[in-house]
Amino acid sequence: MPPIQAADPFPTRRSLLLRGARLGLPIFMVYVPVGAAFGLAATAAGFTLVQATACSALVLAGAGQFIGVAALASSGNLAAALIATGVVNLRYLLFSATLAPHLKGVPRWHQVLLAHTLTDESFAVNIADARAGRAERFSMTGVGLISWIGWTLGTALGAAAGGAIGDPSKWGVDFAMPAMFIALLVGQITRRREFVAGALAAAIALALSAWLPGQWPVVVGAITAATVMTAAPR
């Protein structure tokens, strides 16, 4: 988390957008290489540069895109590929619901924009900022836009480079997303009860992971842990 900045007494839309973009800069730095890995994977599966880039710009869902493209390339079945990506992206229902109370009174068009740029990372940054009482719709938009630019730009670069940069895993890109999630997770744990909730959700997700497809273990684990922690005496 960047150091807390003194509140600007008269923030303009521009200063709020820029503040959000600064908050989202680490996301950009991760999305460019991981987006490039998607660009490579998509072109290897038969997408053109334009298709791969449009996919990232319009969909903006890391794992969901990898799985959708892989499923389509292996089965040729569009419905199966769409179901696979939908299941992977179910956790966004929870993120969207969690963010909703912070978006009261936000115009519908702006809700659509914020929903489109809602990713694991932009959500984690925005919800932490909102709970600190600082986030509002333009700073959230800044976080979302810089994430979107990083992901789309990275995809275009990866698709354009094609085989020229070789296998991205040799640069450690495999660990870029996990590392981001680990940092986001550590940032979320501020109280003992949050630690307990996380441990419970992780245990349930792992126990179910061999039985349920896609992100169902994560979704079921998180719902169960949140319910148990809400019901548990304080």
């Binding site: 298709q51 493209v69 993120f95 999630f181 680990i182 986001l184 419970l200 997700a205 949140a226």
Partner: protein
């Protein structure tokens, strides 16, 4: 891959993803939620992140890796420590990727 199939996937994924992400925001942001729901929602971020991290680190690529030479698990430690003490996302990610590369090299 035929252009129709590729564009079908792109537009289909765009539509599903936008619906999944927009419907709760659009529906819930108009409501006054009771405190118990706010409390429930307050546990969602940490629960989802922890479940994702546990799966990525202990089941990389979708199968169990419960061994002491699992580079994902080992590299998670410096990543978490660097973030805890510096609060720098970039520092933590850089440390994590370097540790991951070094571990994968050392562990073969």
């Amino acid at each position: 891959m035929s252009p129709a199939l590729a564009w079908g996937l792109i537009l289909g994924m765009a539509l599903t993803n936008t619906v999944i992400r927009l419907v709760p925001i659009a529906a819930i942001s108009r409501l006054e939620l009771p405190d118990v729901v706010h409390r429930w929602l307050s546990y969602v971020p940490v629960s989802v992140m922890a479940a994702i991290v546990a799966t990525q680190v202990l089941r990389p690529g979708g199968s169990w890796m419960l061994t002491s030479d699992n580079p994902y698990l080992l590299a998670a430690v410096p990543t978490a420590l660097v973030f805890k003490f510096t609060r720098s996302f970039l520092g933590a990610i850089a440390a994590g990727m370097l540790a991951f590369l070094a571990l994968r090299y050392l562990l073969g």
